[in-house]
């Protein structure tokens, strides 16, 4: 368990790096992190339940211009990790659904509050940029590389620390709730899961359609054809 927890926190650091400072390859997306964490903890079902909901909601947030969007990279690992830690102690499906409910809520809260951590990092980078410019004026060209390295280390450390703090608070604070109120939480999960999925899918549909009737027709046609395909194809 300790090794799994440590790996989860390291993945949070990797996600924090991939989200903005390094490469932006989408390794940080909740679906990818959910897949890795599901394999790590040996619980695909819980990991994917949380990851799919967070991924659908994350897809419609965009880091455009100087806007600091919700941090779904670290938030995703935090939510999925919390659900997996909680469900590790509960073998029953109802309790695991309760853990998924907690996982998504914790993930959403961590992503929302994570925007403040990102803003803090970006303000620290202003200081780093000024230091770098001073060093450049003094003739030290290696300052550019040093500033990049410092910013990468800061982003990794902030991702790990923030994920650790959120997971510790969530696991210690909500462990008892999952044990005593799993039925209530599982019932809430069965209501919330389709509502969240629908909310996220509508945001994506809105982004794609852009008020064009032809694309609405494509959506409707694909929905009916796929529905028929699923129903008829499996009989």
């Amino acid at each position: 368990m300790n090794l799994q927890l440590l790996s989860t926190l390291l993945l949070a650091g990797v996600a924090a790096l991939d989200a903005t400072p390094v490469a932006q390859t989408f390794l940080s997306q909740p679906l990818v992190m959910g897949t890795l964490l599901g394999a790590l903890w040996g619980d695909w079902r819980t990991a994917m339940q949380v990851a799919v909901v967070l991924q659908i909601l994350a897809a419609s947030t965009a880091p455009v211009g100087s806007r600091t969007p919700e941090d779904y990279a670290v938030g995703g690992v935090t939510g999925i990790g919390t659900a997996l830690v909680l469900s590790a102690a509960h073998p029953f499906t109802i309790a695991r659904d309760a853990c998924a409910m907690i996982g998504v809520i914790v993930g959403l809260l961590a992503a929302t509050l994570g925007a403040s951590v990102l803003r803090w990092q970006r303000r620290r980078n202003e200081g780093l940029a000024r230091w770098c410019e001073e060093r450049l004026q003094m003739g030290d060209e290696t300052a550019l590389g040093a500033a990049q390295r410092a910013a990468v280390v800061l982003a990794f450390a902030a991702g790990v620390a923030y994920c650790a703090a959120c997971m510790a608070a969530a696991v210690f604070g909500l462990q008892r709730l999952v044990t005593t109120e799993s039925l209530w939480l599982a019932r809430a999960w069965h209501l919330a899961q389709p509502l969240w999925l629908g909310l996220g899918l509508a945001q994506l549909l809105h982004a794609f359609v852009q008020r064009r009737l032809s694309r609405i027709a494509v959506f409707g046609g694909a929905l009916i054809a796929a529905w028929l395909g699923y129903v008829v194809g499996t009989r």
Partner: protein, 250 residues
């Protein structure tokens, strides 16, 4: 005789583009990252340390664009910097003007292509496939996004260098616009397929409450998508709290 930018310099610049946003900040945004990526070209063109430092300091100024397409701008500005070093382009702020213009133009196309089209499309493809096979979903998401992202990031520098500021002419811009329209059309269809896959997973219809709640979520999402605030995350948190309350009183 002045030096010319070599293939190795362009490769070094390409490798550094991964760190373009490492020092992103509210003052200069990608400015410092841009200078870091651009340093190999300046090292080649200006052997005199004082001149090179002055050019490097100039390139740390404000810059911001869509990070993938920044490669194209880096290549195009390297082309201009080479001309300046050779004395063909005497004006210093001519380069800065072109850099700023390229940044704005690439952001206008890149934000729409990457953040509002390719990102949701790749995520949706991943989710749809993950409903059956989680590994396949994650792999599809990574492959779909990086097919565009890494191709443009790796080849963008060379395109920009070869064509200079004309790189954003009708050719590249037209291709990006066409890709965007195609992906948006396919994405609309993929939303329909994903909704069907959620309603009838593996051919077995979901329960009526699930179908009704999914429909309610879509209706709520279509209404909330008309406004930027509250964000979809805030709406999702509100919906979660509502479901907890409803389950408590049920």
């Amino acid at each position: 005789m002045t030096e010319r930018v070599t293939s190795r310099d362009l490769a070094r610049m390409t490798a550094r583009t991964s760190l373009l946003q490492a020092t992103w900040n509210y003052e200069r945004q990608q400015g410092l990252g841009w200078a870091y990526c651009f340093a190999p070209v300046l090292e080649r063109l200006y052997p005199d340390a004082a001149v090179r430092r002055a050019r490097l300091a100039e390139h740390t100024g404000y810059f911001n664009t869509q990070p993938t397409l920044a490669s194209v701008a880096l290549g195009a500005v390297a082309h201009l910097e080479e001309q300046r070093a050779a004395g063909v382009l005497p004006e210093d702020d001519g380069i800065l003007r072109v850099k700023s213009m390229l940044g704005s133009a690439l952001a206008a196309v890149g934000d729409r292509l990457f953040w509002f089209t390719l990102r949701p499309f790749a995520a949706l493809l991943g989710v749809w496939l993950a409903l059956d096979r989680p590994w396949l979903g994650a792999l599809a998401l990574l492959a779909c996004y990086n097919a565009g992202h890494l191709t443009l990031r790796v080849r963008g520098v060379r395109w920009g260098y070869a064509l200079g500021p004309e790189v954003l002419g009708a050719g590249l811009r037209g291709n990006l616009e066409r890709t965007m329209r195609t992906l948006a059309g396919l994405g609309s269809g993929l939303v329909g397929i994903t909704v069907a896959a959620l309603l009838v997973p593996r051919g077995d219809p979901q329960s009526l409450p699930f179908q009704a709640t999914l429909a309610a979520g879509i209706a709520l999402g279509m209404i909330t998508a008309q406004r930027a605030r509250p964000s979809s995350t805030q709406w999702a948190l509100g919906a979660g709290a509502l479901c907890l309350a409803a389950a408590w009183f049920r």
